[in-house]
Symmetry: C2
Subunit: 387 residues, 2 copies
């Protein structure tokens, strides 16, 4: 087990109608608030009105910036930073899913920096402080509601890059599973794939003696897998939506990687796809992960056997461990298919045209992944396995 | 699943030699610190010197109060409160196990209160604020290093009572598994029993649709069980000590009871035993829990079947679920025995002399437990099952 620091201050407020406390929770951080959100869905659902009412009850002055798109753009982030600086905003409230939260985090970091906020994503600068932020979550997927990270796309050059700092952990996150009832099946499945991927990135490690976190990962994976079909078939099933929503936060709040170094190669590879093609991050992951697994499993067959056995109930064939490992990978791929995810690039009409470019861009800052370090040619081969 | 708030700000600093950062971590809370500890063991081991050196390096002014005993006494707490108030202490550092931490928490609460600190434990007053505190943990057991609770004994009348508040969660907890190497086998086993009990109290609930937390409980239980024999046979095995130490914190940091109401009857019953007889809390729990299980399992046989199957690998006999449930209870009892714990009162020389008194005192504020509400006669019957 590696030494570690686990420091997660996000206050989770979970349950029905909990958005009504957003005003109370926000006011302790200041009177001037940026309300950040995406399109019209929160207005259509009435969530916007309920949030604004709760904020007004506490006398919060609201500034607004909507329009966040999936794969959130740095141009909107820059606009947000300018707005906040000009109006001396105290606090940012993100109402939405991972894209809105990541956009809000980038704004929060940019507010404490004199240069261009994109610097944090190129490595030219590091985040050391941010405005405090809070979240009302509508899409269980990214886990950004309790994580330190933010992923932003720079539309000039189609770069999708990440940054992170502890100050970017939201101060609170309101998780009301009812808010996820209206998510369409496809988006629900993308979210499920995203949270599963967050656990897999942590699960595949070269660190030894990480039993507790292995088992916590497996527990969370099994819960997600076990509830996936229900939330897709029966979208207003509170209990299943609740299991999925809380699992999505646990998947990415850093508990599951205490004492271990995760991989994250598949995320980096996927960012190259959705940076260019603008497909849903979850769909990209459903395509990349099985290909990545097939490419790397020989690095530690036993770990893949444990995964197959403990997560997918594959019986261990002691005379053919490789067969057991491969059966687990197959189960993973079949599961993604079963919830309506693509598992091949051709299913989302992506051909090999940009493979070279994506492999090159994805590794221009060095190899990706930790479980196995992947260089340009490795990434290209993974794209080929995912064709 | 119940609605819940999960709000745990304790920064966990885990790994070898981590006590060397205690000065840095403490100084941000103020210059005047109360160093609170138990007997001579931290002096003999050199830990005391390392902690003091780290504090001095940061220019912290140290006030000292040692002498905390197992089942910490309110008299020492009162002394601590007086010392802190007189010297305007900013921060309390507990170096030790659960007793030291609980004593430090009671002092922290008492410092912000004009009345007698015991009021918090009788229900006459509630904690609303406390001095900040930090921990260097030496005994993995109580989970107090990241919990909101404190249990104190009033030697006048042999009362053992609990209080709690979020301000009592330590600001940081330093967890160095090496510090637990010198724990004797019996104390190690008591700690293991304590952390297992913390999970069992949460596991046995009447709440439905709590799959994620069920599985996280089972994951943590299996990890503890799987490493118990190793830490007892091979006390300087870092990896096993690390699994046990981190599991002990997770067992009691409130993650495992998100969305569910735990039982806690066995803890209340055990407090009556260790309030009078001064046996180790863990040993008392090893005696009470199997008896409690036998008394209550019919409340929800299926839950006990799940426990038997998922934690103890007992095959489910669909034609005789009760048999499966009882097999899980038996495995639990056998496990406690296997690590050297008593499982009957007679093994620790306790006869039925005080059964009536303990049953009466234990229920004087109403029935104990939530899974099954236990009245005076129920508690007496559990003592009889534990004879």
């Amino acid at each position: 087990m590696q030494d570690f620091v686990f420091d997660n201050h996000t206050k989770i407020i979970f349950g029905k109608d909990q958005e009504q406390v957003v005003g109370q929770e926000s006011i302790s951080y200041g009177k001037k608030l940026l309300l950040h959100y995406g399109g019209g869905s929160i207005k259509n659902s009435g969530l916007y009105d309920r949030v604004v009412e709760s904020l007004h009850e506490q006398g919060v002055e609201i500034f607004e910036l909507g329009g966040v798109k999936p794969n959130p753009r740095v141009s909107l982030v820059r606009e947000g930073v300018e707005l906040c600086k000009k109006n001396n905003i105290d606090f940012i409230l993100a109402v939405g899913g991972g894209s809105v939260i990541d956009s809000a985090k980038a704004i929060a970091a940019g507010c404490k920096y004199d240069g261009d906020v994109w610097d944090f994503f190129t490595g030219k600068a590091v985040v050391t402080d941010s405005l405090p932020l809070g979240v009302v979550l509508t899409i269980p997927a990214a886990g950004s509601e309790s994580s330190t990270g933010s992923v932003i796309t720079n539309e000039e050059g189609s770069y999708k890059r990440a940054t992170g700092h502890i100050s970017l952990r939201p101060r609170f996150a309101i998780l009301n599973p009812v808010l996820s009832y209206t998510l369409p099946a496809y988006q629900t499945a993308c979210g499920i794939t995203d949270m599963i991927s967050h656990i897999l990135e942590r699960y595949f490690t070269n660190d030894r003696n990480v039993e507790l976190t292995d088992r916590l990962c497996e527990a969370t994976l099994r819960t997600i897998i076990n509830n996936a079909d229900t939330v897709i078939q029966d979208p207003t099933n509170y209990d299943a939506r609740a299991e999925i929503m809380w699992s999505g936060t646990i998947a990415h709040n850093d508990l599951l990687n205490t004492g271990r170094i995760g991989d994250w190669g598949s995320h980096d590879i996927e960012h190259e796809i959705s940076g260019i093609y603008d497909i849903a991050h979850g769909a990209g992951l459903a395509i990349v992960f099985p290909a990545w697994m097939k490419y790397v499993y020989k690095q530690d067959v036993n770990r893949f056997v444990q995964f197959a056995n403990r997560v997918w109930d594959v019986e261990i064939d002691l005379n053919n461990l490789e067969k057991t490992a491969l059966a687990g990978i197959k189960k993973t791929e079949q599961f993604f298919k079963s919830i309506g995810m693509p598992v091949k690039l051709e299913e989302v009409n992506i051909d090999d045209k940009h493979f070279d470019e994506m492999a090159s861009k994805g590794t221009e800052r060095g190899p990706v992944g930790n479980f196995v370090k992947l260089y340009e040619d490795d990434v290209r081969q993974i794209f080929n396995l995912a064709k």
